[in-house]
């Protein structure tokens, strides 16, 4: 251990604080924040670290916040971020003003025209959103979804390219049962007019944390690609929803397979359930091991 006591710089302390905050399991950043605050014992420093870490954490965990006035929910992602504390909800054409550290939406304002996509893009976005919302409603009991235009939002005609992003986020927090978890998927869809194709790129992340008298975490990540042809908005949205439904179902069964392989194959490479001999270890014979050794030594026989 290094005995030199070099006083940490402000910047270093902040980085450490941020590391802890960003590594908080789904839904646990507020608990981690309390501990980090105590550790730092410096409100100013904590505020700096928190303001950077929370905004990053909220986006990467795609948390969902309720907008005031019963307008609906807004999902916090990197795709719909207008300002550090402003997130567009395209479904309601509202912009949510959020307090990142408190993780609440404090106000809404109508989106400006130039914050919204062209009507050509919006037609695709809106029909896909409706189709995905139906799928998410059927599949994820606590799921939310949203569709954003992330590129070429001013595209007007069939010959221009644009890109949409579908996000699906479902989380379940039950700290009373010592268990939290989340499912997050993002699907980028590139509309390529040249080839009349849609390129689909998906990324799914699942985490779970169980912490009753222990700390066990599941962390998974999967990427996949697919494509389909350019069609009218209605047909397009059905095709896209089918692609997403298919890949997510396939991934879910792959997860089930990974779990069912655990006890007998995967885990065995770490520690077997039973010894190679298939009987409990003969501890009562242990004195014999050393006896034999002593005998061997005393008599000077053996190798």
């Amino acid at each position: 251990m290094d005995d030199e006591e070099v006083e940490l710089s402000h910047e270093q302390k902040k980085e450490i604080a941020k590391w802890f905050l960003l590594n908080a399991p789904s839904g646990e950043i507020q608990f981690v924040a309390k501990d980090v605050m105590k550790l730092l014992n410096d409100d100013e420093l904590y505020r700096e670290a928190a303001s950077e870490a929370f905004s990053q954490y909220n986006k990467s965990h795609m948390i969902c916040l309720e907008m005031p006035g019963r307008v609906g929910d807004v999902v916090i992602t990197a795709f719909n971020e207008l300002e550090e504390n402003e997130f567009l909800d395209p479904r309601t054409a509202q912009v949510a003003i959020v307090d990142n550290i408190k993780q609440v939406c404090t106000a809404v304002r109508p989106a400006l025209d130039d914050e919204l996509p062209s009507s050509y893009v919006e037609e695709y976005r809106c029909t896909i959103d409706a189709e995905i919302a139906r799928y998410v409603g059927d599949t994820y009991p606590k799921g939310v979804c949203s569709v954003y235009c992330v590129n070429g939002k001013d595209a007007e005609e069939a010959e221009s390219d644009f890109e949409l992003a579908v996000v699906i986020s479902a989380s379940r927090l039950s700290p009373k049962n010592f268990c939290n978890g989340s499912w997050r998927s993002t699907w980028n869809i590139e509309f390529k007019s040249d080839f009349q194709t849609l390129e689909v790129r998906g990324e799914i992340q699942v985490c779970a944390h169980y912490f009753e008298e222990g700390n066990v975490q599941l962390d998974t990540k999967h990427e996949c690609n697919d494509s389909t042809i350019m069609q009218a908005p209605e047909d397009c949205s059905v095709a896209i929803a089918n692609i997403i439904r298919h890949h997510e179902a396939e991934y879910f069964s792959a997860l089930e397979v990974s779990y069912s392989n655990l006890p007998d194959t995967t885990f065995k490479d770490l520690r077997r359930k039973l010894p190679v001999s298939r009987t409990l270890f003969p501890w009562h014979n242990t004195s014999q091991f050393s006896l034999t050794r002593d005998v061997v030594k005393e008599l000077g026989i053996g190798k």
Partner: protein, 256 residues
Amino acid sequence: MEAAMGLMRRMPPRHSETALSALLTLLPHHSSDLLSQVDQPLQALCDVDNGKEFILCEYNRDADSYRSPWSNKYHPPLEDGSMPSIEMRKLEIEANEVFTIYRDQYYEGGISSVYMWEDDEESFVGCFLIKKDGSKTGHGRRGFLQEGAWDAIHVIEVRLEDEGTASYCLTSTVMLSLTTDNNTAGTFSLSGSIRRQMKMKLSVAEGHLCNMGRMIEEMESKLRNSLDQVYFGKTKEMVCTLRPPSEVGHMKLPEK
């Protein structure tokens, strides 16, 4: 300290080393508390006398050196490093030998070390350590794991009682991490650590090593079982809550 321990209960177990070193830099004055209370993945060194690897822990450390159970020498060399009594050393040698066989039976590889020392006239402590690298490049024979590690720490306090009995108090910690990686399932990683305690009063007729060994064997099976069945099971349950398997999902009618 309380906040530090709180954080350790939430940080991903596979990042526990990073988390611990972050805490150490932040709280240099609590370093000995942190090192003794936070379980961290085990490290090993190679005994220069016989090329055998041994595991490092607080129990075989003196200053910056660690005593090998194989040669009884400190690495790097240390003059007047503390040594177990002759009797303890005898038990230690035997325990290391037997535990090597035990470890091979259950782990098919890995490294183990046992350290013994006297507490006072009536009691002594044994520390049994196992480190297994189950990754493809390590001792994973079946090659299922991209990355896999199992570290077990068993500390057992033995107190001699009347009439040929002794009380044993075993505290065991297992830390593990495993990652599989393939095309259909992507990366799938589980990591965790749990700690349990077991107390027993036993006759010493068959010897301390026999009693300690049986307790450790029982405890390891229990820990493996709860990790596998309970802890991993709970994370699977969570995944199925987030996305109920299709039969259930389809039967559910939309709310509106």
